[in-house]
Every structure is written in C-alpha cells, then in structure tokens.
Amino acid sequence: MTMAVIAIAIVLPVLLNVFLVNVRGATADWNPGTDISVYLDKRATAARVQAIARELRTRSDVAAVKVITAAEALVQFRQQSGFGNALDALNDNPLPDTLVVTPALSAGTPHDLAALTTLIGAMADVQTVQVDTQWVARFQGIMDIARRVVWLTGGLLGIAIVLVIGNTIRLDIVNRRGEIEVMKLVGATDGFTRRPFLYSGLWFGLGGGLLALALCAVAVGSLTGPVERLAGLYGSRFHLQGLGPARGLMVLGASALLGWIGSWLAATRHIRGIAPT
C-alpha cells in the first residue's frame, strides 16, 4: 500500500519529465539562434542573389551569409515539413531564393538587430525580412515554465513521499512500542533502536521507486506505437524515448533517499519519546 502510493507519487513527475525530454528532443534541430531570413524577389537572377550575399558579407555586423536557392529550399521543405506530397501537386516552385544572415555577436542586442533588419529590408530585390527568433523564444519560454512545473511537482510529491513513509514508520514504531521499551531497558541507544526502521524506510523508497519505473515503462510502452504512427503521418522518424538506465538509477537513488529521510525523521522523533516504565 505504502509502496503503491510512493510509486504513483514518483511516476507523475517522472512521466512529465520524460514528456519534456521528448519534446526537447523533437525540437532540438530548431535553430534557437538569431538568424535573419531574407526572402528575395522571385525575379532576382542567380548572379544578383550572389551579389547581394557578397555585399552583406562585407558588413562588420554580419558574421555569415548562407544562400539557399529556391530549388534547395524546396528539397529541404519537402524533407522537414511532411507536406512533400502536397508540394507535388504544384506545378512550379513557390519558394523564393533565400539568404540566411547570421549577425555578428557585436550586433546581438535587439536594437542592433532591428537596425540591421531594416537596412536589409531596404535593399533592392529584397522582398521580406524575417527574424526567426521570436516564436522559438516563446516556445522555449513555455518549455522553461513546464520544466519548472516538473520540479515544483516533483518537490511537492517528494515531500509527500517523506510524509507517507514517515507515517508508515510511525505506525510501525507504535506497534512495536513494547519491544522498543525492552530494548532500551537492556541498554539500547536510540541509534541502535532506530536502525531497523531506517532500513525499512530505505526499502519502502527503493520498492516504490522500482514500482514507479515499471509504471513508467508501461506508460512509455503504451505511447510509443501511437506517437510513432503520428510522427509517421508527418513524415518524421521521431522515436519516443524512455527514461534510460542513468535517469532510472537516479530515480531509484532519489526514492531510496526520500525513504531514508522519512524514516529517519519519524524514527528519531518517536523513538526518543518512548521511555520504559
């Protein structure tokens, strides 16, 4: 019973964490940098495109310029978006030539960036200038909050585990009061009397942790199929990641530690209160 409660308390934040890790993994190749996408007029010739790129490269506030021709962009889009089949229905390439401009670090402040953006926008044959960072920044903001929610939930449930184990140990101590009195009468120190209760707290924690890992494996296992099918529908080969051995061991270690803390608190307090009569 105690172990089941512990397992559920552990499995909630662990699953949230697994979810976050997977979302992060799926979005890892989304560039979080402050690149500027420059979409050129479709009428601009290849030579003109190279000329604009050269001109931008000479600027001190530009670190790099990458040319993505319309044909390259189409291939890339087909691979990444999952809308490849829809593109086949189009007769000609709807995409323009694009320059990806990486600003120099000295131009890293929002003000400099805005100035650069305006300047590029004013150049001939430039149709649209887009700073790609905003929505990535927003997304990462959401992820940061989610990560913090995981820690908060984990912290609160950790306290709950300590209390649950403490209460179980307390009941055990109450039930064995007579035995503890006898031990104290024949010279047992509080530390000696406490030891078996610490072991049982440790086992509660470990057992709960193992049960939680099993529950987690079941949950991830039941989601793997549907998630991969969904990813497949988007043309992605995304694979749902489980907890992995390293983090699994961390979960076990943390739950054992919480068990030990809970039993230590309860045993220290309640054994001290028992005096033989």
Binding site: V182, M183, K184, L185, V186, G187, A188, T189, T277
Partner: protein, 217 residues
C-alpha cells in the same frame, strides 16, 4: 554499591512514592526489599535502573551519582546492570536464544563471543535445549529463567529483580531464588523486591522493609 541519600520521589499524578529514603547496599551483598505493593519497592528499582529520576535527594550506584548521568549515557549505564522483571518483558516474536543474546548484540559484541556467552548463560539456567523455542512455548517458570538469563548474560556486577517470583508457585519461586543466591555467591550484588515473606525467611539475606515510602527497618 548502592546508596540512597534522603531520596524523595513524587510522580506526575501527585502520588508520593518515596519520602526521604536512605539506605546503602554493599558491594557483593544480597538484599530483599519488602513491603506491601505501593510501599515504594518498585520506585527504588526504577531509580536504580534510571527509569525514573528522584524528585529530591541523591542515588549513588557504584560510587557514581546518578544525577550526573546524562540521558545520552543512560544506555551505557544500563549495560552494567542486570534487570529481571515480574512480567519477564521478553520479545515474543524472537527465540529464547535471541532474547538472551539481546544485551550482547546491543553492546556490539562480536558474534563468536556472543555465542559463547549465550551458551554459558543458557547452561547456567538449564535452558540449553530451549534456545530455538519462542518464549510463549515455554512455561511461566521457564520464561522467568529466560528473563534472568538475559539479565546475567552481560555479567553485570549488580542484578536487580522486581517481584521475580510473583507469578510462580512456591517450589519454582524457591528455584529462582536459589539461582539469585548462586549469582550472589560469585560476587554479584543482588537486590530483589518481593512481598513473599516465606521466601525471605528461608534465605537469610538482608532485608530492607518499606512502608508508605519510608524505610522501616
């Protein structure tokens, strides 16, 4: 070995169990504490085992003022003491051997020494064949002998017993008393609280009588 100096004991409920008790028991002596129930015998034993502390006055055990023994040091103090209880206070879910060995395990003695001492104590009390039994499988007399074995297994210099024969028939009671006498013969100071006058008369040991929390003889 034991010296009470104007000791008063008043319990939290207001009952005054001891009212100015003074007496001394020499090293190697055997003494009976007698008196009706409530006369103060049990309080004396509790003060000796540091289960209770005097309200006033001083208790010396082996030339040590017990008032100077801090709570942390009480376990170590109790290991030098053998205590026998009327209700045995055995752990019912552990074997006779485990019960008797408990003080040695608590004291952290090496396993091999524990086995040796355990055998010796069980042998002394005629319990060798009962080592694996659970306490409740034994008769009351045998259980009391287990309690005594546990009290003496640590070879204490002082053995105290609270009504050790209270639940036994006269013949068994006499056996138990003879055991105490035997420990006394080898130099252990023995203090037995009892209200069994026949027994006391048969064993010409010293007698300290109590009435209403005071020593009468």
């Amino acid at each position: 070995m034991i010296r009470f100096d104007q000791v008063y004991k008043r319990y939290a409920n207001g009952r005054e169990a001891l009212a100015g008790v003074s007496f001394a028991i020499a090293d190697g002596e055997m003494a009976f504490l007698t008196g009706h129930s409530g006369a103060g015998k049990s309080s004396i034993l509790k003060l000796i085992a540091l289960i209770e502390r005097p309200t006033r006055g001083q208790v010396f055990i082996a030339d040590q003022n017990t008032a100077a023994i801090r709570p942390r040091a009480i376990p170590h103090f109790r290991r030098q003491l053998g205590v026998v209880f009327q209700d045995h206070k055995l752990l019912v879910d552990r074997s006779v051997g485990e019960n008797v060995a408990l003080p040695l395990i608590i004291a952290g003695m090496p396993r091999r020494d524990i086995d040796k001492r355990l055998r010796a104590a069980l042998d002394q009390l005629g319990l060798l064949t009962k080592e694996k039994c659970l306490p409740l499988e034994l008769s009351t007399g045998e259980q009391q002998r287990v309690g005594i074995a546990r009290a003496v297994v640590g070879r204490p210099r002082l053995l105290i017993a609270d009504e050790p024969t209270g639940n036994l028939d006269p013949e068994l009671a006499q056996d138990i008393m003879r055991l105490f006498k035997r420990f006394n013969d080898v130099g252990v100071t023995v203090v037995v609280a009892t209200h069994d006058h026949h027994l006391i008369e048969r064993f010409g040991a010293r007698r300290i009588s109590f009435r209403d929390g005071q020593v009468t003889t």
